[in-house]
C-alpha cells in the first residue's frame, strides 16, 4: 500500500484553481520534496493530505480518507504546518502532558531526551521561547511520535541557518528510517537537496516535474559553455539558458555527458537551478509538462 495515493485531485477556491487534477503516488520510506512558487498549490495539496481541506477526486493516505477520518489518521501521521503553531500560552510540561494524554504513539521519554539537548526549560511557556526554540520544541514532540508519515510545510521558515541545519540533521539522524515517509515543502531548496529521495515541482496547481533524486542526478546536467561553443551547445536544445559572469550556462535534460564536456565545464545543477529553468519554461508555454526534451537523444 502506498503511503499517499491521489488520483485526479482537484480543489478550487472560488474561481482560483488551487489543485488541477493532481496524481500523486508516494511509497513508504521516501522523502519527497514539494517545490513550487508561492500560491502554486503546495499547501493546499498538503492540507488535503492532512484532512484540513476538502477536495474533489480520489485521495487515500495510509488507506484512509483524510477529510472524513482525520482523527484516526493522525495516529499515524504527524505534521508541522508552520513554525509558529504551538499555542503561545502553553507550558512545555503541559504540552508534553497533553500530547502524552491524547496520542497513543507518543513516547514522552523520547521527547524529554530530545529536549535535554536544547536549552528549553520545562517550566517555560511557548511565548517565552525564541522562534528557533519553538521549532526545536515542536520537532522534539513530533519526533517522539511513532508516525508513518510526517508532513512538513515550510518547517524552518524564518529560522536562522544554524537552526535550519540542525532541524534537518536531527530529522535524518534521529527520526527517519525506511518505514517512515516524509513530505516536505520549503523555499530553501538547497538545504534539502541532500535530504530528499524524490522531487516534485508544482506550479499553478499542476505537477510540472516529478522524479527521484537518482533520476534527477542522471538526467540533468549543466554546462558553463566556452564562448566559442555557444552555438553548438544551443543546437543540442538546452531546456534553459542563463548568463553567469558574461558566460552562458546551459541546462540539459537527457544529454550525453561526454559531448557536453567538450563544450565547457559540466556540473550537476542544483534543485534551485532546475526549478528556475522549469518554472520559466512553464510560464512561457501554456502546455506545461516538459516532455519535449527528446531532441538529439544520443545513446551510448
Amino acid at each position: 500500500m502506498a503511503t499517499i495515493e491521489a488520483r485526479d485531485l482537484r480543489k478550487r477556491f472560488g474561481t482560483t484553481v488551487a489543485l488541477d487534477a493532481i496524481d500523486l503516488h508516494v511509497e513508504e520510506g521516501r522523502i519527497l520534496g514539494l517545490v513550487g512558487p508561492n500560491g502554486a498549490g503546495k499547501t493546499t495539496a498538503l492540507n488535503a493530505i492532512l484532512g484540513l481541506t476538502s477536495y474533489q477526486g480520489e485521495l487515500k493516505v495510509l488507506g484512509r480518507d483524510p477529510w472524513t477520518e482525520r482523527d484516526q489518521l493522525m495516529q499515524n501521521v504527524s505534521f508541522i504546518a508552520d513554525v509558529a503553531v504551538l499555542p503561545r500560552w502553553i507550558r512545555v510540561t503541559q504540552l508534553l502532558d497533553y500530547v502524552a494524554g491524547v496520542h497513543p504513539r507518543f513516547d514522552r521519554k523520547k521527547a524529554e531526551g530530545f529536549l535535554a539537548r536544547t536549552v528549553i526549560k520545562r517550566t517555560s511557556k511557548v511565548r517565552e521561547l525564541s522562534k528557533g526554540m519553538v521549532a526545536q520544541l515542536h520537532l522534539a514532540v513530533v519526533m517522539a511520535i511513532d508516525a508513518k508519515l510526517l508532513v512538513l510545510d515550510e518547517p524552518t521558515l524564518g529560522l536562522d541557518i544554524l537552526y535550519r541545519k540542525q532541524f534537518y540533521d536531527s530529522l535524518l539522524n534521529d527520526y527517519f528510517d525506511h518505514s517512515r515517509t516524509i513530505v516536505v515543502t520549503t523555499h530553501q531548496v538547497e538545504e534539502v537537496q541532500d535530504v530528499l529521495t524524490d522531487l516534485m515541482f508544482i506550479n499553478r496547481g499542476r505537477i510540472v516535474l516529478q522524479c527521484s533524486m537518482e533520476e534527477f542526478e542522471s538526467r540533468y546536467l549543466e554546462v558553463m559553455v566556452n564562448p566559442e561553443h555557444v552555438a553548438t551547445a544551443r543546437a543540442l536544445k538546452p531546456i534553459y539558458e542563463r548568463p553567469v559572469f558574461g558566460r552562458s550556462v546551459l541546462l540539459f535534460d537527457h544529454a550525453d555527458r561526454d559531448q557536453l564536456a567538450s563544450l565547457g565545464e559540466v556540473r550537476r545543477p542544483s534543485i534551485a537551478d532546475l526549478f528556475v529553468a522549469v518554472m520559466s519554461n512553464n510560464v512561457a508555454e501554456p502546455p506545461p509538462l516538459p516532455q519535449k526534451a527528446t531532441a538529439p537523444e544520443v545513446t551510448t
Partner: protein, 308 residues
C-alpha cells in the same frame, strides 16, 4: 483481508507497532487544556469571592447591635434579614459564572483559529467532536462545580467571621441556625443544575458563533438576535422574540422555584424547589434541543475551519 499465517491476529493493516500504543484519554486532557488556557474560569470567580469577603468584613462593623434588633422580628423575617449577605454572595458568584461562561464560549473556537494553533491541535488524533464537547462542558459542568465550591467556601468563611464578631455578645450561634449551610448547599446544587441547563442554548450559540465568526464574536452573537427583535417590533409591533430572549437569560428560576412573597427571592426551604414543574417546562427541552443543535453544527463546522 490478509490471510498470511505469519500475521499476528491483532495486527490490523496499518498499525504493526500495536505494542507501542499507550492508553489515552483525549476528552479528559482536552478539558484540562481548556483550564490551562482559560485561567479566568477559576480566577474570575476567586477574585469576586475575595471582593465579597472584603465587603462582608466591612459590613460586620457594629453587627452585634444590629443582630439584637433583628432577633426581635418574627422567625421568617429573621431568616430573611440574616440571610441577605449569604444569598447575595451566592447570586453574585452565579452571575459571575454566567458572564465568564458566555465570554469563554465566545472565545473557545475563535482563539485557536486566531493564534493558528488549530493547525497544531488538528495534527493530533483528537476528533472535532471531542474538542468541541470538551469546550461545551466547561460552562455546563466545570464552571458550575467551581462555582459551587467557591460559594460554599465563601459562605462558610462568612459564617465563621460573623461568629467571631458575635462571640463577645454571645450571639454566635444565631447566624448558623438562621442560615443552614448544609441545606443551602443542597439548594445551591439544584439551582446550579437548573441554571446551567436553562442557559445551555446560550452557551451553545456562543460556541457556534466563536467557530464561525472571523472577528467580533460578541457582536455576531448579540446583534443578530437583537435585529430580529427590532424587526419584529417594527413589522408587527410585538416583542415576543425579545421577551423570549429575556426569559432565556433571566427566567431559569421561574418554574424551578416557588418564590414566596414575604421571603423575596430568597430560597430557604427545600419545599420551595419544584423540579417537577421545571422538567415539565417546554422551554427547557426546546432550549436543550437548540443547544444540542448548536453544538452539533459547531462540531461539523470545525472540520472546515483553519487559521484566520
Amino acid at each position: 483481508m490478509n490471510t498470511q499465517p505469519s500475521n499476528t491476529p491483532e495486527s490490523t493493516g496499518v498499525s504493526d507497532s500495536a505494542y507501542n500504543k499507550a492508553p489515552t484519554q483525549p476528552f479528559y486532557w482536552s478539558v484540562w487544556r481548556e483550564l490551562w488556557e482559560n485561567r479566568s474560569i477559576y480566577v474570575a470567580p476567586l477574585i469576586v469571592a475575595v471582593v465579597i469577603l472584603f465587603g462582608f468584613l466591612v459590613s460586620t462593623v457594629g453587627m452585634a447591635q444590629r443582630r439584637q434588633s433583628v432577633l426581635l422580628l418574627d422567625q421568617t423575617r429573621q431568616r430573611a434579614v440574616i440571610g441577605v449577605p449569604y444569598d447575595a454572595a451566592a447570586m453574585i458568584l452565579i452571575v459571575t459564572a454566567f458572564i465568564v461562561g458566555v465570554f469563554y464560549c465566545l472565545d473557545a473556537l475563535h482563539s485557536e483559529r486566531r493564534d493558528r494553533s488549530i493547525l497544531f491541535w488538528k495534527s493530533l488524533p483528537v476528533s472535532d467532536r471531542t474538542t468541541v464537547l470538551s469546550k461545551a462542558i466547561i460552562p455546563l459542568l466545570v464552571l458550575p462545580v467551581i462555582t459551587f465550591g467557591i460559594i460554599v467556601l465563601v459562605q462558610f468563611l462568612m459564617l465563621l467571621w460573623s461568629s467571631v464578631i458575635l462571640l463577645p455578645s454571645g450571639l454566635s450561634g444565631t447566624t448558623w441556625t438562621r442560615f443552614n449551610l448544609f441545606q443551602q448547599s443542597l439548594i445551591l446544587v439544584y439551582s446550579l443544575i437548573v441554571i446551567a441547563l436553562w442557559h445551555a442554548p446560550i452557551y451553545g450559540w456562543a460556541l457556534l458563533i466563536s467557530g464561525l465568526a472571523r472577528r467580533a464574536t460578541f457582536l455576531w452573537a448579540v446583534l443578530p438576535p437583537l435585529a430580529i427583535g427590532v424587526l419584529e417590533k417594527i413589522a408587527f409591533n410585538t416583542s415576543h422574540f425579545v421577551s423570549m430572549l429575556k426569559d432565556r437569560v433571566f427566567g431559569a428560576g421561574d418554574t424551578a422555584f416557588a418564590f414566596q412573597p414575604h421571603r423575596g427571592v430568597a430560597i430557604d426551604s427545600l419545599i420551595q424547589l419544584t423540579p417537577g414543574r421545571y422538567l415539565a417546562t417546554p422551554g427547557l427541552w426546546i432550549g436543550l434541543a437548540f443547544a444540542a443543535a448548536f453544538v452539533a453544527i459547531a462540531v461539523r463546522q470545525r472540520r472546515y475551519q483553519g487559521p484566520i
